[in-house]
Subunit: 346 residues, 2 copies
């Protein structure tokens, strides 16, 4: 590409699990960077990170950090985004925010490039990256929605521990070692770091991700409900979610029941998904091939399989959707948006 | 109890994971046993097992093993049941079969005591124990079905590895150790021992339990579909299942969407479940209390929680059902049936 404009880019939360993946992708994809600024909390400031052979020092993120910045990628938690994104916008930056801070703000587009990249242009400085479990589901459902319309979604998730951060991964590995050695397990972080009750994740599954809401659903479940409607641009879709943490390091799996508005053909569904951008169809029961969390790790795609007609409703389809929660579920989706802004490609 | 008749009992598959639990329960519950015969394959014959302080030697199961036997508990695989149950019946025994061999046979009652113990009397020598994942679900749904009627069930399971036998547990623990040590993992048994393709279960989830059927569902999924209708005595219930193996040792968890025929009250649902036999309600989101696989291990009850109104259908309820797959899901359900036959109690 000739005469490509180069951008001053800030990565907020550069030392975190998602920030690390964002930097890896910016480097691999040769993102048009003029100046790269790495920002973090005061605690992590001073960390050295190598980018394209150059050593960069992470600085503490402050309101003044964004002077001259044109694209800021935030993944340092909702509180940091709430405190700093407006300052970045005031300095003229476009913020791509990977937290829950602005997702449901009516002024903020909530973007999955394969689904609604056309909404990016409506931004007023901030573009929100959806929740990991939502992204992979809507990416897989959108091409089917375009063809048949969707009236209803019931999803049960099998979510990897990396979604709760690298300390949660450490905790799971430590607990697992303790369990194998026959020692006592003392849960410390999961299900929710800031809440008092802790549960074992090693050799267990925990039906709680994030805090409970008044309606009995967790915030993670309500994110899937609300974000799906907003991204699909259809408040009439009925969505129900059960979000469950499983002892997996990378890769969220989802058992999804979807009910279409119109009759569908299963072979057509397979063809549509096999041709859809960002989707890889892995659906070969005869050879025991279907998406697996371990196979998805490190890959940008959303993997779809176990496609079969519902046994109750003629309009119902069951499917199994898997993707790396740190990539398409976070860093890769954010970098896709940044690339669209920078060079107009999805 | 005075003048309790004492029974000659055979346990077929006495050295297996379920057989071991059956013997433990017969001992703990002081089952009225006159003579106890332990049977197995030729390979395990000769094994010594202590029952109530007495050492018994496991014998190879043959058609002649059942002479004088009045109650035979089978859990040695479908082929063994198919080969030997008719001989046991011919010798006058009532067989309680924990395999898939006779479950869908119209002549064979399929019994979950809390649901349909009244059907036991229809037996012609064989009573079938349902599949583990079905038992815990119908035990929890039956009291709600009695009150509101059920039109539809959509279930996604999180099934423990012990359901695939003790060799599968060994494999998971070995793989987990290999993964923690950073070594290569060479899957050997799961998802299905007799099929060629193997997948890693350590830090992974596998959306296949048992073989695929022509309709794209696995046999485990179709067991849940067919057995639920038969046990509930209602072929009109629409049932769809997605069965998934998770790296848990004991305790199946299930995310269940149920649609009632009539309007329901959530507080009534909780009251009905809290009063239902064999059910323990664990549903306190404010204190992060819900059923967990690790908590269910070693306990006979079915644990139910995460009760919440569906966000799509006013007749829909979402719930989380957990039970020890070797106890209520297998050994305990079989011993409950045996007790009903022996002493007329549930």
């Amino acid at each position: 590409m000739t005469n490509q404009k180069m951008f001053n880019v800030a990565v907020v939360g550069a030392t975190g699990a998602v920030g690390e993946q964002i930097l890896k992708l910016l480097e691999e994809r040769n993102f048009p960077i003029n100046q790269l600024k790495l920002l973090s909390s005061a605690r992590s400031a001073g960390t050295k990170i190598t980018f394209k052979g150059q050593e960069l020092i992470v600085e503490e993120a402050t309101p003044d950090s964004f002077k001259g910045i044109e694209i800021a990628l935030f993944s340092a938690g909702g509180d940091v985004s709430k405190a700093l994104a407006s300052h970045a916008v005031a300095h003229g930056a476009v913020c791509i925010d990977n937290t829950n801070a602005f997702r449901m703000d009516p002024e903020t587009p909530l973007i999955v490039p394969e689904v609604n990249i056309d909404k990016v242009s409506e931004h007023k400085g901030i573009i929100a990256n959806p929740n990991c479990s939502t992204i992979q589901m809507v990416a897989a459902l959108k091409p089917l929605s375009d063809r048949y319309g969707i009236s209803r979604i019931i999803v049960s998730t099998y979510q990897a521990v990396s979604g709760a951060g690298s300390r949660a991964i450490d905790e799971m590995l430590r607990q697992t070692k303790e369990a194998l050695d026959g020692n006592d397990i003392n849960p410390d972080i999961l299900p929710v770091g800031s809440l008092p009750v802790k549960h074992q994740i090693a050799f267990n599954v925990i039906p709680q991700i994030d805090k409970f809401q008044d309606n009995g659903y967790t915030l993670e479940e309500m994110k899937m409900v609300r974000e799906t409607k907003k991204i699909m641009g259809d408040e009439s879709i009925a969505v129900t979610a059960t979000c469950v943490r499983v002892p997996v390091v990378y890769g969220h799996s989802e058992s999804v029941y979807v009910e279409f508005k119109n009759e569908y053909d299963l072979e057509d569904v397979k063809r549509i998904l096999s041709e859809a951008p960002g989707i890889t169809l892995v659906d070969d029961p005869a050879n025991q091939q279907y998406p697996l969390a371990t196979d998805s790790a490190g890959k940008p795609d959303v993997f779809v399989g176990r496609l079969r007609r519902d046994l109750g409703s003629p309009l119902g389809l069951n499917m199994w959707i898997v993707s790396d929660n740190l990539l398409k579920g976070a860093a890769w989706n954010a970098v896709q948006i940044a690339e669209y802004i920078a060079i107009g490609q999805k």
